[in-house]
Symmetry: C2
C-alpha cells in the first residue's frame, strides 16, 4: 500500500468558514484518504484566545496567537487564511510565503488589491498561493478559467457575483416589494449586514470581477477601473416594466475585452428572460464565460456560506496533495451496483368512473410500502373514464414494478398511461 501523504495545516481564523473547514476535514476524512491517499491535519489554529477552540470541541493545544510560531514550525506545510480584511492578513500571508509555506485564502479584498504582489512573493519563495474561495464560494470559476478555454479567446465574463443583492432583487421581483422592505427582510434573515454598503453598492461584486478578469484576459485589471452602480435606486415600477418587456433586473458584473481594450462595470441590468442569468434566483451566484469558439458557458452555485466556501478552500488544500492542478483520473474501483432505482413517481392511469376505486388503488400502493404524496382526478374525453394522477413519495423501482403489476390487473383500471420519475 502506498504511503499516506500528510498535509499539515495552520488555520488562521476560526469563524464561519474556518468552522466549516474543520467540519469538512473531519466528516470527509475517509473520502479524502480514498481519493487522494492523503490526510489533512490541522496542527495550529491562530485565534485571539484558546476558549474559542474549546467551545468548538477542539484541542486547546492547537491554539496560537503568534505568526512567528506558525512560520517557524517546519511541520506546517500550508497556511489557510480565513481572517478576512486586508490588514493584518496581508502581512501574515507575506510572512508565511517568505517562510516557504503554501497559502490558501478566501480573502477577495486582499487578492483584488494586492494579489499581484503576493503572487510575486510566493514565486520568489518557491511557494504557491491559491484563492478559489475568494470568488463565488463553491462555484469553481477560477479553476474553470485556469483549466479551460485554453484554445479560445475569451470575449466576456458576466455574472451575478453577490448573493445579498440577488436575494433582494428576486424578492422585489417575485413579491412586488420596495428595495427598503426587502433589504430589511434580508437583514433580519442574516443575508445582509447592518451596514449593507459593500453589497448593495456593487463593491463586493467588483472585487470578484477584478480577480476573474485577470484570469480571463491575462490583463492587470484594477479595482479602481471598474465603474460601480448598486441597486438602491431600483424601483418596483422598473421591475414591472422590465417584466412587461421580457426582462428581469439583475445586478451584473461585466467585463469585456475586444481590440485589446478592457471594459469593466458592475450595475443593474435588464437581462433578457431567454438568458440563463435571468433565471438565477435567491442567494445563488452565477458566471457566464463567453469564448469565441465555446460560446457561452454558465456556472451556477452557492457563492457564500460556511460549507460551500469551505468546499472551495478544501479543494485548494487538496491541490497540494498532488502536483499542482490536474489530479488526473484515479484508478477505478469496482462498482457495487444498486439495482433498484430510488425515486418519486408520477403515474397517470385511465380508470372507470366509479366510487371506491381510489381506495382499492391506494391499498395496492400501501401493500407495497409506497406512500402517496398527491392525487388528482381529471376528466377524460370518454365520460365513463377518468384520468387518475398520482404522485408518490420516495420509493424504489422494485416496489413500483410490483405495485404496477397488481394495478394493471385491477378490474377498474383501463390502462396505465404514464409512469415518469419526479425530482424535487
Amino acid at each position: 500500500m502506498a504511503k499516506i501523504k500528510q498535509l499539515n495545516v495552520a488555520l488562521l481564523g476560526l469563524g464561519t468558514v474556518g468552522k466549516g473547514l474543520v467540519s469538512l476535514l473531519k466528516e470527509n476524512e475517509a473520502e479524502i484518504l480514498n481519493k487522494h491517499g492523503a490526510k489533512v491535519n490541522i496542527v495550529k489554529i491562530f485565534e485571539r484566545n484558546a476558549d474559542k477552540l474549546e467551545k468548538f470541541g477542539l484541542d486547546r493545544n492547537l491554539f496560537t496567537d503568534s505568526m512567528e510560531d506558525i512560520c517557524g514550525d517546519k511541520n506546517v506545510d500550508i497556511v489557510v487564511e480565513l481572517l478576512g480584511r486586508i490588514h493584518p492578513s496581508k502581512e501574515y500571508i507575506e510572512s508565511a510565503l517568505r517562510a516557504g509555506k503554501n497559502v490558501v485564502t478566501a480573502n477577495k479584498d486582499l487578492i483584488c488589491m494586492h494579489g499581484g504582489e503576493l503572487l510575486k512573493t510566493a514565486k520568489q519563495n518557491g511557494a504557491v498561493l491559491l484563492y478559489e474561495a475568494s470568488c463565488l464560494g463553491a462555484v469553481p470559476v477560477i479553476n474553470t478559467l485556469k483549466n479551460n478555454f485554453l484554445g479560445d479567446e475569451i470575449k466576456s465574463i458576466k455574472g451575478i457575483f453577490n448573493g445579498t443583492t440577488n436575494y433582494i432583487l428576486t424578492k422585489m421581483t417575485q413579491e412586488g416589494l420596495s428595495y427598503e422592505e426587502c433589504l430589511k427582510e434580508a437583514q433580519a434573515l442574516g443575508y445582509a449586514e447592518s451596514d449593507p454598503t459593500n453589497d448593495v453598492e456593487g463593491i463586493d461584486a467588483a472585487y470578484k470581477l477584478c480577480i476573474l478578469s485577470r484570469f480571463a484576459f491575462g490583463l492587470d485589471a484594477k479595482f479602481e477601473d471598474i465603474s460601480k452602480k448598486g441597486i438602491t435606486q431600483i424601483t418596483p415600477q422598473d421591475i414591472q416594466i422590465a417584466a412587461r418587456l421580457g426582462y428581469t433586473i439583475k445586478l451584473l458584473a461585466i467585463a469585456k475585452c475586444g481590440d485589446g481594450k478592457l471594459e469593466m462595470r458592475v450595475n443593474p441590468v435588464f437581462v433578457s428572460n431567454n438568458h440563463q442569468l435571468s433565471k438565477i434566483n435567491g442567494a445563488f451566484n452565477a458566471c457566464t464565460i463567453e469564448g469565441n469558439y465555446s460560446d457561452e458557458i454558465t456556472l451556477i452555485g452557492r457563492g457564500a456560506g460556511s460549507h460551500p466556501t469551505a468546499s472551495a478552500v478544501a479543494n485548494d488544500i487538496m491541490n497540494f496533495a498532488h502536483k499542482m492542478g490536474d489530479v488526473g483520473q484515479r484508478s477505478l474501483k469496482k462498482a457495487k451496483m444498486e439495482k433498484d432505482g430510488h425515486m418519486k413517481y408520477y403515474l397517470r392511469m385511465s380508470v372507470t368512473d366509479r366510487a371506491g376505486i381510489l381506495s382499492g388503488i391506494a391499498k395496492i400502493f400501501g401493500d407495497n410500502k409506497i406512500s402517496i404524496e398527491s392525487v388528482i382526478q381529471d376528466k377524460n374525453d370518454n365520460p365513463d373514464i377518468k384520468s387518475l394522477i398520482i404522485v408518490t413519495h420516495m420509493t424504489t423501482s422494485g416496489s413500483m414494478a410490483k405495485a404496477l403489476e397488481k394495478i394493471s390487473r385491477a378490474p377498474s383500471v383501463q390502462s396505465v398511461d404514464s409512469v415518469i420519475e419526479v425530482m424535487g
Copy 2:
C-alpha cells in the same frame, strides 16, 4: 524572448468537428501564442482522399490514409481522433498510443466502452489520452470533475446530456405539439438524425453518464448497468399536467452514490420548476454536480456543434503545451482601459403630457448618435404627467451622458427617473 513551443498534430477525420478545429487553430493562432507561447501545427490529416482537404482550402500534402505513416512520424506529437464510431478508431488510437503519441478524442461511444483499456495502454507507453469533448461539447464537465470537489464527497450527478431530446421536449412544452411533430421538425432542422434511436432512447446520454460517473465516484461504471428509457412515450397531456403541478419534463441522466452503491439511469423526469435543470431550453446541455459541502453546482453550455466541440478538443491539445492540467496564472499584461461602456439603455422619465415632446427628445438622442429601439408612453399617478420609457440600441456611456444632460434640461422633462443597462 522565450522559445515558441511547437505542437505537431495529426488529425484523423476532417468532418464537422475536424473543420471546426482547423478553423479555430487558424483564427486563434495569435491568442494561443500569446496565452501559451505555443503554436499548433496540423502536420497530417487522415482522410479517405485528398480532395476533401483541397475543398476546405488545405494543402493536399497534409493528406494521408495510413496510420503507419502517422505513427512512424517522429514529428507528430499529438493524434486527434475525430472519426467517431468504435472501429477502427479504437485500433488507430491504440497504435498511436503504442507509438508514444499523446491522443485527444471526442469519441464518447469508444471511451464509454473501452476507456479503461485505452488509458492503460496510454500509461504503459508513457502517453496521455484526453477526451473532454466526448461529454457535453464545450461544457467543461470532465475537467470540472477532475479539478474540483477534491475535498468533497460527490453525492450525485444529474443532467441534460442530449441536445436533440431537450430540443424536442422544449418544443413540445412551449408549443403543445406531439412528440412525432417535434421529432419531424428537429429532423428537418438537422438537430435529429433520420434514425434518431441513439438520441431519443437515451443511449447517447447514457454513454456520457457512464464516462462522467467514473470521474465523479472513482468507480468502474459500466454502460450496461444504466437503465435507459427515452422520450418517445411522452405525451402533451403529461407535459400539461407537469406544468400544472409546477414541473417541467426533461430527459435526465442521473447517477447517485451512497453507502458505496452506485445507481444510474437515463429517463424522463418531472423536474421541479425551482431547479436549474428545469430552465435549460432548446439544444443546450447542463450538468448538476452535488458535493456534500459544495452543494449543487450546475454547468450549462452548448453540448454539440462544430465550434463548441472544437473548443473542447483544442483545450485538451493546449494542455500538452504545459505540464498536464493546471496551466497556472499567466504573467499579466498592462490593461488598456476602455473608458466608455458599450451597452443598450433603458430610460424612464416623467414628462409633461403634451404633443411633440417625443420628437424633441428623439432629436437629442439623434444628435448624440443614439438610436432608439422602442418607446412606450405610460400613465402616471399625476394626470398631467406621463412616463416615457425608452430602450435604445447599442451606444456608449459617453454619448448617453451627453444626451442625458440635454434631456434633463428640456422644458417638458420633469425628471429622469431611471437609467439601466439592457442586455440581450
